[in-house]
Amino acid sequence: MYKSETTRRNFIKKMAMLSAMTAAASMFPGILFASEQENGIPQDANLDWKKGPCRFCGVGCGILVGTENGKAVAVKGDPNSSVNKGLLCVKGYHQIMCIQSKDRLTHALVKKNGTYVQTPINEALDIVANKMKETITAHGKDAVAMYTSGQSTIPEGYIASKLMKGAIGTNNLDCNARLCMASAVAGFLTTFGADEPMGCYEDIDHADYFVTWGNNMAEMHPVLFSRMLEQKSRRGAKIIDFATRTTRSSTASDTSILFEPQTDLAIANAICYEIIKNGWVNNSFVEKHCSFSKGRTQMGYGLEDSYKFVDKPEKIDFEAYKEFLKDYSPEKVSNYAKVTVKDIKYLAAIYGDPNKKVVSYWCMGMNQHTRGTWMNNLVYNIHLLTGKISQPGNGPFSLTGQPSACGTAREVGTFTHKLPHGVVMNKKDREMAAKIWKVPVEKIPSKPTYHATEMFRAVDRGAIKFIWTQATNPLVSLPKTSRYRPAMEKKSCFVVVSDVFPTPTSDVADVILPASWHIEKSGLYGNSERRTQHWNKMVEGPGETMDDAWMFIEVAKRMGYGDLFPYSKENHVEEIYNEYRQFHEGAKHGMAPLEVLKKESGAIWPYVNGKSTQWRFNAQYDPACSNGEDFHFYGKPDGKAVIWQRPFEEAPEKPDQEYPFWLNTGRVIEHWHTGSMTRRIPVLHQAMPNAYVEFHPDDAKSLGIRNKERIKITSRRGSCILPASINERGLPTKGQVFVPFFDENMLINDVTLDAFCPISKEPDYKKCAVKVEKV
């Protein structure tokens, strides 16, 4: 349906159709127009349909791409995928339109005397390898760094880790999933000792209540939201939207409850207080399967360079926990959370009702939080106290933002502290990696180095002198880009960028490497529900484009590590996956064989005896449970999940007289993150051509601001000018403004704060103080 030579009139018709669908979406959030996928496919077309996962978002919808004469010409939802059952959202069914964009990076570009010169890819890879070697020789191995992506495939992430940690011997590897999922990881590890959700999307078919915590699923996870709406309509399931801004999700929910930013910490504790006070605790579950701990408080916010934090967990008992919760009665919390006592009690009663199944969903609202790990722990507390976990329709479920934030960033482990199995700090994990990688164990350093924010601070300080980014656009997506853009422009650091399109990040590169788009290579992604999905290369990429994994292998060979990377160009994806699978052998994390993934629309790990495990830690479904009980939280040595005592603490920066508004940032349905792909899809770009700043109508009135007027948003770090938006897409609470971050021409991250959660190191993009003025 998407021919590159779309006529102007056909384009306008598409625009008109998209306008109607967008208008319908505002009336019916979660609405899907699946037939759009078929519309425009020529009747006589002889298309070859190939399966794969969608490129956008972490839901992991199955797609079928129709190819004809070597070109991708159509996309439709995969009816065999249990994730989306044939449905797709507006981004999904337009995705292939970007790959033939006129400004596609098709050849390597090397900056010579200030000008980019098209260069044969082999020569560009020589330059990259030589520069890496020279830097290591002159400044040591920790002077080189790599920053990858939750959009990298599993083989790409694996080879990046092997090259940096196994071959070069530095932990200077981190990824953009640090910006979106690290708090979920730290939450899972501290509570359960094992990362990723215990449940799966089938929970939607069983739950009586869906509580969404700061999560606009109607725009960010529309296919899942549509499945929830279906259950609402069919079975009377209820959706409770708990957020700081009224969104399309709020209007489609049964109840919308708004809270003051940062006070979700206190409200979660108040829910636990009520559950205990009213006798709703599942005592036998808690006694058998839970322990109690507290950690350090007043940890700071990571605002200073080289900030360090180590938690000191301390065991407590249930009585001490109850005593702690006395500060969180609904009456006390209501005073500062701006939520009524009645609403807090209502939320507690939903979780506390033993006859109702409840799933909690969250994404960036809870994760991009200076106390993100705590917030994740607190929602687990609610589910653990009530025993509503690891059962169909009952459980906490963190959603991911990227297609392989789970599969690549979290499972392969493209974080500074991670290895494909376990962490660099653990000797046994290093030994396993050394054995599989065939390197001396001493080669793998035992100390983590730079997480994402600190990595770019190190570039600014001059400590990192070579950085290679892939499939990510940090100079739009990092917080406080007003510091990190000039940092990356410094001559002290050699910058290599692999990407599909030019971006503000490639604008500062010394070498730009042309990357394959996902259907131009074979690969595997892992989605939010632990589902691994494989696809075969569907079309050839243009020019000298190359997949990132093969770029790493070519550079590794040039650096003298060829023996460690003995893969063939034709089959490297298969060979790498089979090597990687060894890290996860066993009932706790076994990955499905490639032949299964080639046939099916994904499989959920642990994949044991030919079967996906849909609910972990529940002996009825999970073969890894071995304690003879109904549940076994085997990630922890004592087999028990931890209920954490975590207090409310203020945000590092709050509105004051000089900067009187909260700034909240986020996404819109039309665009994928920094917009480098979706802004090249004409219908999506036309539907949402630029960013904007949303006001509450009362604030707009008192400031005399009208729709479309140019507004300057200023913080202590920088400013950004955008058109005003009042009563349009979303409605912030009074005293708050909201800006989407997709627009590289209106860089709101020049304004945001680079404070992060001290445990997860994930930045908080949802809260800082700004002033607004008409310009």
Partner: protein, 78 residues
């Protein structure tokens, strides 16, 4: 040469009938919502008069409950 888009609401239980009726009109492109009782419609006509006649014709479809204009473009054929 107007191109206009509409949200079309069928009478309850008659979405399929409305879809068929609209698809029989050569100037109409219609896409039904998968999970709601609503359709998205684009009309492509040569001039304003033809557009008006088309809308009159659509208004006579018995399965139609209402028609809401969303956007309008006026352009020339390629």
């Amino acid at each position: 040469m107007p191109i206009k888009s509409y949200i079309v609401h069928p009478i309850k239980g008659q979405k399929e009938a409305l879809l068929i009726a609209l698809r029989n009109l050569t100037q109409c492109e219609v896409i039904p919502a998968e999970n709601q009782n609503v359709l998205a419609l684009v009309t492509d006509t040569s001039n304003q008069k033809e557009e008006e006649l088309l809308i009159e014709q659509i208004d006579t479809i018995s399965s139609l409950q209402s028609l809401s204009l969303v956007s309008g473009f006026n352009t020339t054929h390629n």
